[in-house]
């Protein structure tokens, strides 16, 4: 069957959106199918995100807008999958598009129907804590901003039909069935949170002041039910004593919850506690937890900050009971402390940190798509490729395959897109539409002819601002040749009107006075571009979000302000000029630095798409860190996988692998890098050009100084123990002690190395299998077997492995005794325990290659974090990108992680890189800075201030030493211009002249 250059993505949360954007930007047609009525998923419900406390809505909403308007993403909401047939490369899917009773093409999202609707329905988005009308959007920033009528509540009164000026309400609109033909499918349906059953131990549903963490997230949110104030539901009081209970429905073997660890709760609880305290300082949060599993990048630092800066108190205990105090509605919690005392304490409010379940329709999805589920009901994936489902051509990403956080979801989404690239690369560009635009009208040097379009926005503006008066005023302004007002300036018919007026009046500047340019500027820019004007000959006056909506009680003053804003826009419009977008050619080749698993997976992915790839490895052999790993905890044979990978890399004609090699220099920018490598015994020098760089330089194992390592032959590392076990050299031992967190989570290296707990348990299980009588004791601080790894932790305990906790301030002591070792541990109950052991195994942490990373970081102009790992562009939404475009990161170079995660990240980096490599040339935003050389004194202040190293001082033939801007690197922030004492730098689109025009000339 012939392959199809289209992809279907199921689920439009952050994962589905990211996968869709990657693929649509790489030349595939994407059908994005969402079952609810808007996109964004759970992330859009969150208030803040860990570990940066970044606002969730602010960072996710641009991604959603981009998804919503991408010309090669066909977004369908309110859908159901009916049938799937075909095979990898060519699938046929039957989809049911359920009606919203509102025509999405006509609806402008003005919200009048919602305001007028007389019946209230429960709003899903605020988790049942606030009430909204039967016609509703899920939330004000929803994409697509289209209202839907909830027929369960609608009484058919017809008011909404009457008030809708856009005539979008269609009561008789019917469901629609469509057939879609695609080459691959990505499943990203997300998860459903665990909801405590009716009769639960925690009083959820019975006591008003017990809420789940996702409900609490809405309470924290500024757009939530209490507008961001932290109040308890029973009486609206501030819950000064706030308790969080961890592991609700997770790590639960009683049958009420799930046996696995939900991976994210420890961190989101810490975040909620921190934000609650930040919103209202009188709140003192207490967290009841088992292990604190802060295993991700910079997670441990966040936990420490929560305790030290925000006064969050951690109590290591699973509570025994919770009762409401009837008079106060407080909650009395009974728990046992670590040293064995039973305590009773009252809290004003309790938050249950609920776990992540597979989506409720998991079985339905598995049956429809013909994929297998694992024992916990999540999508079963390959041991080494965590996005490959049991069926070829169908991939899974995000929480559908295991509970995970946002960056891991985004990484997997890109990884799934990376795998689709491998499958369908020949069909890239076959089904996408490219716009044909008329040539641009030449306007330079002509007097401005300005057209002003003022929007009523239904009643949103027109109800408060006297729009006819503002329109009349606009016509009186110099250079304005026409002013018009429209009911909805953004509607499809007004776009035609704008284009006609441009022609009729020979307009060369267009102004729209309506809502915010942040959401609507691209739409109008596209319109005037279609009319033949350069898209930068456009200005917007924000008379809704920043005028009519915020001065609803002062219509006269609002009208006066609207006039001022229109005049300021006209003043600026007079000064604006066309801006060329910069086009950069792309060299369709890749450089991968590092020949470990991540580097090789990335190189092979590029090569399978026929992109020439240069793979540079500093060692004499390929393989990296994984050469010392035999198996994964889940039983994957690492050595077999690695051997196969090396063979494939060495035999691939698109890969040039350089071993014993060192990068000498990397020059250039996105699409156009030039590098040189010194390689081999003879130190040969090779130069090549490439369009992208992937940094996969890996990391190293810590060489401990503590616990007699290196001085006593009975003290070895976990990796050495693994080698012993796999070569049957440990059979004579009677007792083994393992110490966790050696060189991790201390002052010098304040992060968790993530894989040591799993490694220790893996080796303990293998040792027990080889010799069931062997005594194994694991000394730990927190056991961090997140996700399904929890299963192996339990198995180890069942097989008799002893786990003993020690405190950071009281580490175990090792005393050599003849041929054995005596190990002393102080337990939390203040008892001293002595263990005699044949062998001490240290779980040594993972360290960054500091010097190497620093050198490479300088060459690539990318940052490192405090621990010398590479720092990505955005910890949540751009986990494999760098702020420097065209450079990506994968594997241990980014932070400690497992082999599966490294492979996912490598494929993700390839997918991100393909959005560049799949194009012949790329367009960069034209609003960059420019130097006026005759004014420049070459002082170099701008060079100092530029965060992107886009400015350098050159010796000009005519002007001497002056600044020069590399337009490809410039982001147009204007820090250089703001600081220039000679006014020698200007920013296109925000020039000094334009801003002065807005400030002055109040005619």
């Amino acid at each position: 069957m012939e392959k199809v250059g289209a992809v279907m993505v199921i689920g439009a949360g952050i994962g589905g959106s990211q996968a869709s954007l990657d693929l649509a930007d790489s030349g595939y047609k994407v059908y994005l199918i969402e079952s609810s009525t808007s996109i964004g998923g759970v992330m859009a419900q969150l208030d803040k995100t860990f570990p940066t406390n970044d606002c969730a809505m602010c960072i996710v909403s641009p991604k959603l807008v981009e998804t919503g308007r991408h010309q090669n993403i066909d977004l369908s909401i309110n859908c159901k999958i009916l049938d799937v047939s075909g095979e990898a490369g060519n699938f046929n899917i039957k989809v049911l598009k359920k009606t919203l009773y509102i025509n999405p093409e006509k609806c402008t999202g003005c919200g009048v129907c919602g305001q007028e609707c007389p019946v209230e329905a429960i709003d899903i988005f605020n988790e049942g804590l606030a009430k909204y009308a039967a016609t509703s959007v899920k939330y004000p920033q929803a994409v697509p901003l289209v209202y839907a009528i909830n027929k369960d509540y609608c009484i058919g009164c017809g008011i909404c039909q009457g008030v809708c000026k856009a005539k979008a309400v269609e009561y008789d609109r019917e469901d629609e069935e469509v057939d879609i033909n695609v080459g691959a499918i990505i499943l990203a349906p997300g998860f459903d949170e665990y909801i405590p059953p009716e009769a639960n131990l925690y009083g959820y549903g019975k006591y008003k002041n017990v809420v789940t963490s996702i409900e609490f997230e809405r309470i924290l949110s500024a757009s939530g039910p209490y507008a961001g104030r932290v109040l308890r539901p029973s009486d609206g009081d501030i819950p000064e004593k706030l308790a969080f209970l961890q592991c609700i429905g997770s790590r639960d073997y009683t049958g009420n919850g799930q046996p696995y660890c939900s991976s994210v709760c420890c961190m989101y609880t810490a975040k909620e506690a921190v934000i609650a305290h930040e919103h209202m300082h009188q709140i003192k949060p207490t967290i009841f937890s088992m292990d604190v599993r802060a295993y991700g990048k910079d997670f441990d630092k966040y936990i420490i900050r929560a305790q030290e800066e925000y006064g969050v108190q951690y109590i290591r205990s699973r509570i025994s009971s919770i009762k409401e105090v009837p008079e106060t509605k407080d909650l009395r919690i009974k728990y046992e402390t670590e040293d064995g005392k039973v305590m009773e304490e009252d809290f004003n409010m309790v938050v249950l940190a609920v776990g992540l379940n597979p989506p409720n329709d998991n079985v339905f999805l598995a049956e429809k798509f013909g994929i297998e589920l694992n024992e916990f009901g999540f999508a079963k994936t390959d041991k080494f490729n965590p996005v490959q489902t049991s069926r070829s051509g169908i991939y899974a990403c995000g929480a559908f395959s295991s509970p995970k956080d946002i960056p891991d979801t985004v990484t997997q989404a890109s990884a799934a897109a990376g795998c689709v690239n491998q499958l369908l690369y020949e069909k890239r560009g076959t089904l996408i539409t490219e716009k044909t635009l008329p040539p641009e009208i030449y306007v330079n040097g002509q007097p401005p002819r300005i057209g002003v379009f003022i929007c009523h926005c239904g009643i949103n503006i027109g109800g408060y601002v006297d729009v006819p008066d503002v329109t009349k005023y606009a016509t009186t302004l110099p250079n304005v040749v026409m002013a018009d007002r429209n009911l909805y300036t953004c509607s499809a018919d007004t776009q035609t009107i704008i284009k006609d007026k441009v022609k009729e009046f020979h307009l060369n500047r267009v102004i729209v006075a309506s809502c915010t340019p942040r959401t609507h500027e691209p739409l109008f820019q596209e319109t005037i571009r279609e009319a033949g004007l350069n898209r930068y000959l456009f200005q917007m006056a924000n008379i809704r979000d920043q005028c009519s909506w915020v001065h609803m009680n002062e219509p006269e003053k609002a009208t006066e302000k609207a006039k001022d804003l229109v005049r300021m826009a006209v003043n600026k419009a007079r000064e604006i000029e066309p801006i060329e977008r910069i086009k950069l050619p792309v060299t369709p080749k890749a450089l991968v630095v590092g020949g470990g698993i991540s580097g090789m997976v990335a190189a092979l992915n590029f090569a399978s798409q026929e992109f020439e790839t240069f793979l540079v490895e500093k060692q004499e052999e390929l393989g990296g860190f994984a050469r010392h790993i035999y198996h994964t905890l889940e039983g994957g044979d690492v050595q077999e996988f690695l051997t196969d990978l090396i063979k494939k890399v060495q035999s691939n004609k698109f890969i040039h692998a350089y071993t014993d090699a060192e990068i000498e220099n990397i020059d250039g920018y996105i699409g156009n890098f030039k590098s040189s490598v010194i390689h081999g015994k003879k130190k040969e020098r090779t130069e090549f050009e490439h369009g992208v760089v992937i940094v996969a330089t890996g990391a190293k194992e810590y060489h401990p100084k503590e616990y007699l390592y290196g001085n006593n032959g009975n003290v070895i590392l976990q990796s050495e123990f693994e080698e012993m076990l796999n070569n049957d050299k440990a059979t004579n031992k009677k007792s083994v002690v393992m110490i966790q967190c050696v060189g991790s989570r201390n002052d010098e290296h304040p992060y968790c190395s993530k894989m040591c707990c799993a490694e220790a348990i893996k080796n303990a299980l293998l040792a027990k299998e080889k010799n069931p009588d062997l005594e194994i004791t694991v000394l730990f601080r927190d056991i961090r077997t997140y996700g399904f790894k929890e299963k192996y932790y339990r198995e180890a305990r069942e097989k008799g492995v002893i786990f003993l906790q020690y405190d950071e301030d009281n580490p175990p002591e090792v005393i050599p005794e003849d041929s054995r070792l005596r190990i002393e541990v102080s337990t939390p109950r203040k008892e001293k325990i002595y263990i005699n052991s044949d062998l001490l195994v240290l779980s040594a942490g993972i360290y960054a290659n500091r010097e190497e990373n620093e050198d490479l970081a300088k060459m690539l102009k990318v940052p490192l974090n405090d621990d010398n790992f590479f720092l990505e562009a955005h910890v949540k939404l751009r986990p494999v990108d760098f702020a420097t475009e065209g450079v990506f990161v994968a594997g241990l170079a980014h932070c400690p992680k497992t082999i599966e995660d490294s492979i996912a990240q490598a494929n993700a980096a390839v997918s991100r890189a393909c959005t560049i490599l799949s194009k012949d040339e790329i367009e960069a935003e034209g609003k960059t800075a420019m130097v006026i050389p005759e004014r420049c004194t070459g002082c170099g202040m701008c060079v100092e201030n530029c965060a992107y190293s886009a400015i350098e001082l050159i010796d000009d033939r005519r002007f001497g030493r002056v600044a020069q801007i590399n337009q490809a690197l410039c982001k147009g922030c204007g820090a250089c211009s703001g600081n220039c004492r000679c006014a020698a730098i200007d920013v296109l689109g925000f020039s000094g002249e334009q801003i002065f025009a807005m400030i002055t000339g109040r005619c």
Partner: protein, 150 residues
């Protein structure tokens, strides 16, 4: 109280200052939009100029605004550490620390020019800050230091 002062008082009560606000595109402008979406009301005193980053704001823009008779100036960017352009707001902060001293030296009342931070999530905070800035400028009265050009 004489008739004149009574009249003056009445004018002062009704008088609303005109404040020009330079808002960075990524945080404060978005925060102002959010105040709108959330329908949080604040006095109609500000006129917004959108700039890519608070780092774009040249001190001369501020001086020029005062020279042109604006009663007050507000510059608002992302919170320190959150800049979309990595360090633009830090550059701005350093620059304005110096400008503030210069303006005082000129004899401009300190409250006329306000620097603030508001993130894209802080609609409420944005409105509060504008209310505060309006109150301060209103108490200072019209900007008489420079002759109005209109």
């Amino acid at each position: 109280m004489t008739l004149q002062t009574k009249q003056e008082e009445k004018i002062n009560e009704e008088w609303e200052p005109k404040i020009i606000a330079f808002l960075c595109n990524w945080c404060s402008y978005a925060g102002a939009d959010l105040a709108g979406v959330s329908r949080i009301q604040y006095p109609p005193t500000i006129r917004v100029v959108r700039v890519p980053c608070s780092g774009r704001v040249n001190p001369y823009f501020i001086i020029k605004s005062l020279m042109d008779g604006w009663d007050g100036v507000v510059v608002s960017g992302c919170h320190p550490g959150d800049c979309h352009y990595l360090t633009g707001n830090l550059v701005a902060r350093r620059r304005f620390a110096i400008l503030k001293e210069l303006l005082e030296f000129f004899g401009i009342e300190p409250g006329r020019v306000n620097f603030m931070w508001a993130s894209a999530a802080e609609g409420e905070r944005f409105a509060t800050l504008i209310k505060k800035a309006t109150k301060i400028v209103k108490n200072l009265g019209p900007n008489k230091k420079f002759e109005k050009k209109w």
